[in-house]
Symmetry: C3
Subunit: 267 residues, 3 copies
């Protein structure tokens, strides 16, 4: 597997693996380039149901998602100009925007820990599958840094301010089960089984109505900042379109024929 | 009872029943007309504490809320012009706006299932009472359609994006208990007892300070899109008004007299 | 202790105590003046980690946070002009804005009950520590008044609309454990131990990177109304700054030296 990040097709998913276990899988330019390629491939290949982001196991065999920024790299930041720092940071923020704008859903398969920017990129994903012992933490404060990667935005959407503050101001670790109870984690698995569960979810997405799923993903994303009136308008526009498209025809026809819809043949 | 939808006064509530059990209680023009009348009646009759929306039991005796859009109707949509589709859809979205704008609170009493637009109209309500076995699902994706009725907006307000995605992209069913734990369902009852609990809640509202309740309902609704500064301004304007009104006088007088306030006499 | 409100330094925190137990600790001009001083002192004294807001025990020995508005005072409101009412109300809303704008985090230590404006001021705080038997309620409706102090805004951010409605339209009491499960309360303690837990949390904040914590507090607050793009921009600006500041240097240096960072020496 390539150092820092690699990807491969597994079934109808593309699995991107953060692969720098000796440094606990930091984010890197290589990771963002790999994700960019994976999202492009997924967009162009109608058989792909999801892009899955996961981490390579550590040298002791324990699964681990991502420890966030590379601290060697961050240590060097003080000697960079603000413009240079900003340029590096934009590789992360471009990733955030890419995942949001992707038509194909992105699933985080988290083992062990998602810390700092690792937590940011996990929460950027449309779905989060997590092994039971995994911990989520916004650890920037521990080294005197402020959060990035959109994590303060995601936390404001998904958690009360008090718990978000506890994560961001104190670096509090939150467990997979706690995040499941709050609705942030979709599935809690046994340790070592997060990728398998993510692949299963990705296969379900691959059997679904691809264009409809893309439209709904963007509807759900837009809903976060739209007020009710604006979102009703957007839902109406999209529903009027959907009613004339082949996926709805197949879905409704299959319903009346009491058979499973076959959206795959429409691609 | 009238086909598709009917309403009747029960105590100090108006109960609107979705009544097309052989098609699992779909939404219909008749339902929205009935709700419009019920909300108008409730607005004009100061003894009414709440409008309750519920579904007739299925032919097998099982309670059921609403299965969403009428699929015969949706099947015909492909042959309609976009303008015709939009016009039909606006009957649903007018309902959504009517419930939001109503001074009188609206309570969903859910048995069995609330699917597709059935889930949308349940979550439009100010309160949701649900029988323990009821399931909530945004099932549009199953037939290749995109959500409407404001459900993506409501889900973005009440759930983390990951769980909202699971409902909207995969049609995941969520149980009454899960929605209670997350704060979406107000009361979980035994099967068959949702309407009774809704009536009880409606009676409490009927004993309350009617004008104050209307103002608070709109304050809570406005708070969803207002930022803190705008909402502080709105709260201040309304509180300054409230302090000069008869309901506050009665409430505060009763407090000092150590008696229950009698808001009903003020109407 | 001064009547209505007093404050004292305890360790590296300033503890403001609402002190009018015979009226169940109402809010007052004295309280807001005391908080204003405490926040100013905390801002100017770099050894202070947090301001803690708590209530004096009642005459029966039971802990109690705050019962909200002084009803004698509210009873007199009907005879005030709207401008006079607004002026009084702004003392509360100035408190709300002061806590939001404070660089130093504010912790509510709640025993017994936080009712009406007492609930508003608890939820205004960045952290809420609550004794297990404490109840939170937005009790305004019970006396025919509408909520203020930003509570409808805070509830819209932290709870589904249905539960927020139940609190605001019906005065429903919510337990500390329920608020913990939802992520609103940070720590549930035994009765009588909320202040102690708040002091412990305050000491952790006092050992942390003071300027970084202030920046993160404002990032988390801004995230509530910013959309993702605006928040990514704000995170980027703040992270680029942070990377050049002494706290990050100390944090990263300590990480590599495998020692605890010493942020206190930087002040």
């Amino acid at each position: 597997m390539k150092d820092y990040a690699d990807s491969e097709r597994q079934g109808n998913c593309i699995v991107v693996t953060i692969n720098r276990p000796k440094e606990r899988n930091p984010i890197s330019a290589e990771l963002f380039a790999e994700m960019k390629n994976a999202l492009k491939t997924a967009q162009d290949d109608p058989t792909i149901g999801a892009v899955i982001l996961t981490g390579a196991s550590l040298e002791n065999g324990q699964g681990f998602f991502c420890a966030g920024g590379n601290l060697n790299d961050l240590a060097a930041s003080a000697d960079r100009t603000p413009d240079e720092r900003r340029e590096l940071l934009e590789t992360l923020h471009n990733f955030t925007r890419m995942v949001r704008d992707s038509d194909v859903p992105v699933i985080a398969a988290v083992e062990g820990g998602a810390a700092g920017a690792g937590c940011s990129i996990a929460l950027t994903c449309d779905f989060v599958i997590s092994a039971e012992d995994a911990k989520f933490s916004v650890a920037y404060v521990n080294v005197g840094l402020t959060p990035d990667g959109g994590v303060t935005s995601f936390l404001a959407d998904i958690l009360p301010r008090q718990l978000a503050n506890e994560m961001c101001l104190l670096g509090k670790q939150v467990s997979a089960q706690r995040f499941y109870d709050l609705g942030v984690v979709n599935v809690v698995t046994e340790n070592g089984a997060a990728l398998q569960a993510a692949l299963k979810l990705g296969e379900r997405l691959a059997q679904g109505p691809r264009n409809t799923i893309a439209t709904i993903k963007h509807l759900c994303s837009a809903a976060i900042s739209n007020d009710l009136d604006a979102q009703l308008e957007l839902e109406a526009v999209k529903m009027v379109e959907a009613q004339g498209l082949p996926e709805a025809k197949e879905g409704i026809t299959a319903f009346f024929a009491k058979r499973k819809p076959d959206y795959v043949k429409l691609r």
